[in-house]
Symmetry: C2
Subunit: 299 residues, 2 copies
């Protein structure tokens, strides 16, 4: 049913569980209109939620969108942002079934709740990784962090072609729904999380929930094109962009068999926590408080 009643009505599919997630984007914290357009903000707000649904092995079905508007936001801006919402709904196959709008805030906010479906009892959790499983990640990491940095410093880091890719990656992340679908069909995933706080931190959540240790070979982490030069130009150390950025929205997962998609980056072992090993078999130490930097406030 359409928007307009007090609530939307949906009919669940027999034999499927419902997964529900919510994520809010706040201006100045999760996005900056200097670096992305209104349509990008709308698109992104949906992608971060699709990514959570994909990380459960689910298919997105519906979303409700709660907008919080500040005074300077006009109707044209809202309509453009909503174009991004609808573009994402077409791209990922869910319906926007409701929402509301409030004014009077000082920072633009977009709070999305998304529902999806997964075969009953088949949702992936963070818990479930077993000693002997492989550790995998989809796609490539580090591109979005380099893109945000390139936007902030107003330089392509001497990597013009790559920088365009990084920036596109930052502005228009892809939720790994196609990959999640292939993995769900294969039935090999034992635990999964989406990389929204940085690979190191999010694998830490997975290790904690599963009660295992993870050993990750940093040299095996798939990196964005031109990563090495960009990281050298923009960051003090070679790993921050790849390990501490959440803006790539890849999936990290463990698998009991060789999966149809994803790159193997390590092993599940007895123990706890995440050990990142460099090419000389030495542990990598990340800067303090790595992760969480989706924001636009430079530090």
């Amino acid at each position: 049913m359409g928007v307009g009643d007090d609530a939307a009505v949906l009919r669940p599919t027999l034999g499927r569980d419902v997964v529900v997630t919510c994520d809010t984007l706040i201006e100045g914290r999760h996005f900056d209109l200097r670096y992305m357009s209104a349509v990008d903000v709308g698109y992104r707000a949906m992608v971060v939620n699709v990514s959570d649904v994909a990380a459960m092995g689910g298919e997105p079905v519906w979303a409700v969108v709660a907008l919080e508007l500040r005074d300077a936001i006009d109707e044209a801006f809202v309509e453009t942002m909503y174009d991004g919402v609808l573009e994402a709904s077409r791209a990922y196959g869910f319906a926007v079934v409701g929402g509301n709008v409030v004014g009077g805030v000082t920072r633009l906010g977009i709070a999305v709740t998304m529902g999806g479906e997964v075969d009953a009892g088949k949702a992936w959790r963070r818990a479930g990784a077993k000693v002997g499983d492989g550790v995998y990640v989809t796609g490539v990491l580090g591109g979005a962090a380099l893109g945000l940095r390139a936007l902030r410093v107003g330089s392509d880091g001497g990597e013009a072609d790559s920088a365009a890719t990084w920036i596109a990656r930052y502005r228009r992340p892809t939720a790994r729904l196609v990959e999640a679908r292939a993995l769900a069909r294969a039935g090999c995933v034992t635990a999964c999380i989406d990389v929204s706080d940085g690979l190191a931190q999010d694998l830490g959540h997975l290790a904690d929930a599963s009660g295992v240790g993870l050993v990750v070979q940093a040299r095996d982490i798939p990196l964005a094109p031109g990563y090495d030069k960009g990281a050298e130009r923009f960051f003090d150390d070679p790993w921050t962009a790849a390990l501490s950025s959440g803006d790539d929205y890849e999936l990290a997962f463990t698998s009991r068999a060789v999966p149809p998609v994803g790159t193997r980056i390590g092993d599940v072992v007895a123990g706890s926590g995440v050990s990142m090993i460099d090419r000389y078999a030495a542990p990598i130490r990340l800067p303090h408080r790595a992760g969480f930097d989706h924001g636009s406030d430079p530090r």
Copy 2:
């Protein structure tokens, strides 16, 4: 399942539809911490959503709570607010299955999405009222508006006992879930809406959606105890508090038979819009832009 994974997993009941609604409370717009406590805010944020689910004839099942915190809000405040959330979850029988917290805003916000269930195909809509049906409302109206005014002006309007009732009504609204359940069992409701923007405006939505006219006898509208004196003291006209306040969260509905709960206030007729008739059969004219005043900003 508990909070902690990327999404919550829920199993729908066979033969039931899912209703989904969302409502956001923003400090300074929908509440003011001078007039209600943290625990009241948490409770209220859930009640406004339960009210929407009840207005569809549904039972609330789950909620996700997205908090937006400003700097001065400490952990103790959040925990107290959450006590109110959990109190409501016990009172109305739903589970809080997830949520998230973001910082960096300047006005406290609490965005709730709630899911409920209703027998398949039985959800009430705003559309559905038929000529000849009666128009009904649950409970009493005007109390919450008088309570908010009493708090603002720091006076009980000379109605000490009633004022305490009004203020309690404002601070702790009741969603009419018990009434909705009785009405759903009776099967007599043809259209329903919760009174969240004021009776006049919300009945207007129902009339529009149903393609009918509504004639309401103002003398039949059930009013809060001590209403007449309070309205005389606090408002320029006798009707604003009863017809233009949404803070009562009553249900307005049309019924094809005498319902088990609710007070009959009028009739569904051919035509359009809502006609409010006073005791002398003259139409009542409400002040311009009646409705929408949940807020704390005095006008």
